[in-house]
Structures are given as structure tokens and as C-alpha cells.
């Protein structure tokens, strides 16, 4: 039975808005909605170009609404966490007064029976507005805008940046061959799989040869040495993006395993200061102690399980000018 691993990825985007979107978003904080002139038309949401021709539009903004007319709608009986209203609501095309194109937004009408084409709606503004389309919490039936919560007023500065945190949860299968490689690592074994056709060896429980595109199984396993030579490396100065746990510069090295053609990429180092990392340096595998928590695989990249890094052996360096080219 294949094991699945669930992971949640967050993408923190910071988007530049540019002059037109900046004006639109800033106006939202002032509880005003802007459209843009496009010939005789007034486009809402505003666009930087004519949607029919692609021609750039002059920045000729015009206030619309705040009330408008529902052109079309559909009822959302079971909202998701991403939806702006957390009880059943309608998504609707709202043609704001003065606009010639409809804005998609939520209408909080209580029930589908209360919705109709041609009905009049007005925005329910958030009290705290930051310059996002969701500063309009939703639209409500009637002509009168509403305010949801205490009014914190318009933005002090023009809104030029928009943060958007996309967040997705995935369930990915972990091939049984990858699980087996991790299990063998708990026995302090570094096991490769040798392809019977091309005789290349792969580690990390890949389960197939990418050159010949054939499956590899336990019958192709071979034990590899626990020593090797650094062929190449990179010193990383960590950027403090969300999720980064490193604070000081650290090394990732490529290790050519003795008596094999296997190069392990992007390996951590142990008891090896950044300044002492060099091509040709001899290293030995370091294993997690029994019971220590290890990367069980299934995340990004290949997991070598209980093989947690490489430390210097103290042997003399290997002087081979071709070593540096061995990154695969």
C-alpha cells in the first residue's frame, strides 16, 4: 500500500500594483470605486488596456457606484475557506452605476430566493481597509452602502503593494522504493540500485532508471561505501524567507561515493566549518542515532533518511582537476 504525505505550501506574494491598480486600491480605502474610460465604455474592474484590442488605455479614471445592478448570479450553498462570505451567498456580476462592464463579487442576500437579475445592491465596506478588492466585504441588497466594524479611515499613503498569501495543501504518494531506502538507512546502510541495462547506480530509492526508463527493484540493490570525496560545493547565506530555519552561512556539498559513480548532491556537512570546505576533501557518512527523528521522505527532493551529513575523515585531499565536474 503506497504511503501518502500531506504538505501545506504557502506562497507569500508581494505584488506591485502600478499606477492604475494603485489608484483603484487606494480609492477602495476611501470607500470609493473607480473604473477606467475605454472609448465610450467605463471598465470595472479597471484594466490597463482595451480588452478587445490590447491597446494601452490612458489613465482616465472615473468614480462609479457605489450601488449597482445584479446582471447575473449563482448561489454558493457551501462556501470554501477562500470565499469572502462564510455562509451561503451568491457570486454575482454587479454592474455598478456608471460602469459598462460587470464586477464579480459576493452578494450576501441570505437565501437564493432573495436573489434576482436586476436587483439593486450596494457595497458592505470593511471598517479596516488595506487596499484590496476584499475591502468590499460583499454587496448587500438595496441602495445604501454599509460599514462592517469600526471605520479606521483611508490609507495614509497611496497603496502601491498588495500582499497575497496563496496556500495549498497537497497529498503526494511516496513510492515504496523511497520508503525502503529510508528504512535501510536506519540500519546505517547506503543502498543504491544498479540498472541492469546501463549499469548506472541510483540512490534514494528512485525505483527506476531515468536513462532507460525501466523499473528497478530489490534485486538491483547494492551496498555502497560510507566514504567519499567532495567534488563541488556551495556556501549559502540564508535569506530569511518564511520557513527558513538557518541563520548563519552553511555549506552544501556534492559527494562522490568511493568505488562507485554515485554522486550525492546537496549534502549537509557536520563538524566541517564553511571556511574548510574544498574540492577533493575526504568525508565520511554520519548517521542519526537510533530513535533520533529523521526525514522520512515524501517532501521535496530525495531523502537519505538516517544519513544526516558528511564529516571530514582527516585523510589527505584527492588532487584531481576533473573532480569539480562531477555533480551528477
Amino acid at each position: 500500500m503506497t504511503r501518502f504525505v500531506e504538505s501545506t505550501i504557502t506562497f507569500p506574494y508581494r505584488r506591485s500594483l502600478g499606477p492604475m491598480l494603485s489608484a483603484f486600491m487606494t480609492a477602495l480605502t476611501e470607500r470609493r470605486i473607480l473604473g477606467i474610460r475605454c472609448g465610450e465604455a467605463v471598465l470595472v474592474p479597471p484594466m490597463e488596456w482595451d480588452p478587445a484590442t490590447g491597446a494601452a488605455l490612458p489613465l482616465d479614471l472615473v468614480e462609479v457606484g457605489p450601488a449597482g445592478t445584479v446582471q447575473s448570479w449563482t448561489w454558493v450553498p457551501a462556501p470554501t475557506e477562500q470565499h469572502p462570505v462564510q455562509r451561503p451567498f451568491a457570486f454575482a456580476f454587479v454592474l455598478l452605476d456608471g460602469a459598462t462592464t460587470p464586477l464579480l463579487h459576493a452578494v450576501d442576500a441570505g437565501s437564493a430566493a432573495a436573489m434576482a437579475d436586476g436587483m439593486r445592491v450596494a457595497p458592505r465596506w470593511r471598517g479596516e481597509r488595506v487596499g484590496r478588492i476584499t475591502d468590499i466585504a460583499c454587496f448587500v441588497p438595496g441602495e445604501q452602502p454599509e460599514l462592517d466594524g469600526d471605520d479606521t479611515g483611508p490609507a495614509a499613503q497611496p497603496v502601491e503593494i498588495m500582499d497575497y498569501n496563496a496556500r495549498i495543501t497537497y497529498r503526494n504518494p511516496v513510492p515504496p522504493s523511497a520508503d525502503r531506502a529510508v528504512e535501510l538507512s536506519r540500519q546505517q546502510r547506503l543502498v543504491g540500485m544498479r540498472c541492469p541495462q546501463c549499469e548506472r547506480t541510483y540512490v534514494g530509492g528512485r525505483g527506476y532508471c531515468p536513462i532507460d526508463s525501466i523499473e528497478l527493484g530489490e534485486e538491483h540493490e547494492i551496498d555502497l561505501a560510507h566514504t567519499g570525496t567532495i567534488t563541488n560545493f556551495v556556501i549559502i547565506t540564508p535569506v530569511q524567507y518564511p520557513g527558513q530555519t538557518e541563520t548563519e552561512p552553511f555549506a552544501r556539498v556534492f559527494v562522490l561515493i568511493d568505488d562507485s559513480d554515485v554522486v550525492l548532491a546537496y549534502q549537509p556537512t557536520i563538524e566541517l566549518p564553511v571556511a574548510d570546505v574544498r574540492v577533493g576533501r575526504r568525508v565520511a557518512a554520519v548517521w542519526a542515532s537510533p530513535g533520533e527523528e529523521i526525514d522520512a521522505g515524501g517532501g521535496m527532493g530525495v531523502s537519505l533518511g538516517a544519513l544526516i551529513g558528511w564529516m571530514p575523515t582527516g585523510e589527505p585531499d584527492i588532487a584531481d582537476p576533473d573532480l569539480v565536474n562531477r555533480i551528477f
Partner: protein
Amino acid sequence: MGTSRDIAVIGWAQTPMVRHTELTETQLLMQVITDALTPIGLTRADVDFTCLGSCDYITGQAFSFVSNLDAIGAWPPKRDSHVEMDGAWALYEAWLRLHEGDIDIAVVTGSGRSSTGDPSLIYPMEMDPFFLAPLGADPVTFAALQARAVIAAGIADERSMAEVAVRSRGTGDVDTLLGGDYVRQPLRRHDLPPITDGAAAMVLATGERARQLVARPAYITGFDHRTECHNPSFRALDDSPSTRIAAAAAGLGDAPIEVAELQAAFTHEELLLRHVLGLGQEVIVNASGGALRENPIMATGLIRIGRAADHVFGGGRRALAHATSGPCLQQNLICIVEDGEGQR
């Protein structure tokens, strides 16, 4: 555009289509590429160019297309490309590449594991980041708004939509289906596509090689794709001008077609596309069940072309395949395949 060089589909394969596969996307591709090549007597070494269509957003792994390269046997190094689109667009790129004249065999794929995430939460993030993504504007909502427009224009009604569902899936009863609850009015569960994991691979060859390898190549005689504004606010949702333009450019009007495979994930989309393409009752539409039966995102469009090619392999003369991408049929591709009798 018409073609100046004979290029044909000579074979294709698809994986089993399942709700939830235990295979990785790379494993799906390894299997399906072998299945496409073997019956023709080709190996990966014979392939001059590959183009893979897939989507990291759906797979949930950054650079997933790089590990997918393991499935093509890319050593010695191969000419390769990738589109973050349905495999139908990978086919378009391979078709263009073969026109350069220096190579003869190409393989294209489309692959996706939709079950990896929750499509209703993933797709809103692909929308306009300023006006739509922050609202969680989801594909079923947009489909419902388009269905309303199509119904208002008299092109469909809820009954004809249910009939499409029954015919596509080969199960169910229209009156029973019409008694179901709305997911998004006017769409009920039966109007929506299933979630499917799967992949497809297709082999293309240029004229002489194609004729050496198979008895009846399916020649691509017309191929075009067009797109519309990304935001449905600015589109006439009861029409699909990009489909109409692509079909005219691909030569739909030049001769009758016998079969059409349309990438219609929602029932009303089939009715709208039939209307826009002017398909009469004599044209057999989506005999395969189409995207309403199996909808492996990123492969669904390529499979339409495979099904059209099957018609030619089996003795047919001329078939049309359609693929689409984006909310409310934003971007549309038309591929016409023929048996070649009309050309020589």
C-alpha cells in the same frame, strides 16, 4: 494555419483513468510513453523531440516537470520542451517543431494528478491576482455564470444539459438528475466533470516516416489556437469567438467532418461549442464520453486529439478535436486530422 509539410499522429496511449492513483506523475509517464511507442515498433532512442504538458500547481511539486523528464530517457541529451498547459498545446509545439524539417519523430504528453490537491481551492489561485483570486472565484462559479448566459441565449437548457451528461457517462436518467440539488445554480453535480488522475502520450511523425510505420497515419491538416481576455467580466459568455476563429483558421469549413471530440468539462460547454462550431446532427460528438466521463487535467485536451486520431486509424476520413484552457473557455485550440486521401 494549414500545413506545408505532412505531419501525422501515428499512435497514442493513455494510462488507466482513476479517481486517485498511487503512482507518481513520473511513473504514470514512464508507463504511458512506453505504451505509445511499443505498438509502433519505436523506442525512446528513435524520438527526436519531446514536449511535455503538465502543471506544478496541480502536482504540488515545484519543478515537477524536471523529474518528469526521467520518463523520456533523456540520455544522450534530447531536444525537449515543456508547456505549463494541457498536452494539446505540447502537441502544437511539437507540430511546429517538426515543420522545421530536420527531424521526423516527436512524442508529446499531458499528465496530471488532480487528486493531489483540492481543485476547488487550487484553481482560484490561478485567476487574476487582483480582482478574482482574493475572492476565491472558483471554476464552478464561472461555469455556472456561463451556463446562465448560454441558457439565456437559448443554446441550452437544464434538460438538454442533463441529456449531455447521460449520453457522456452512459448512465443515469434525465428526470432523476433534474431532481438533484444545485451545486451552483443552474449546475447540478451531473453537469460537473469528475476528478481524474491520468496521463496520455502521443507519437507524431513526418510524412514518409509516418507511412513506413503505420498503415493509416492521422494527418494533421489544420491546427490553430486563440485566446480571449483573461477576465470573464469582459467577455460575451454566450459565445466563444476564439473557438470560431481557430476553427476557421484550421479549415473546419473546407470539408465535412464525421466526428468531433470537444473538451467540454461542463455539460453546457458541449452545447455552446457545438453551436459555435456549427456542428450538425450528422456529426458524432464525444462518443468517448469526453471530459464529463474522465477529466485528467492537463491530459484531457490531448486525449481529445487521440480520440479523433482513433477515428482515422479505424477507417474514418476527417475528425475535429478541441481543447480548452482557462475559465469559461478562455483559450481554445482546434486540431483537424484526416486520412490523407484528400491531399494526394
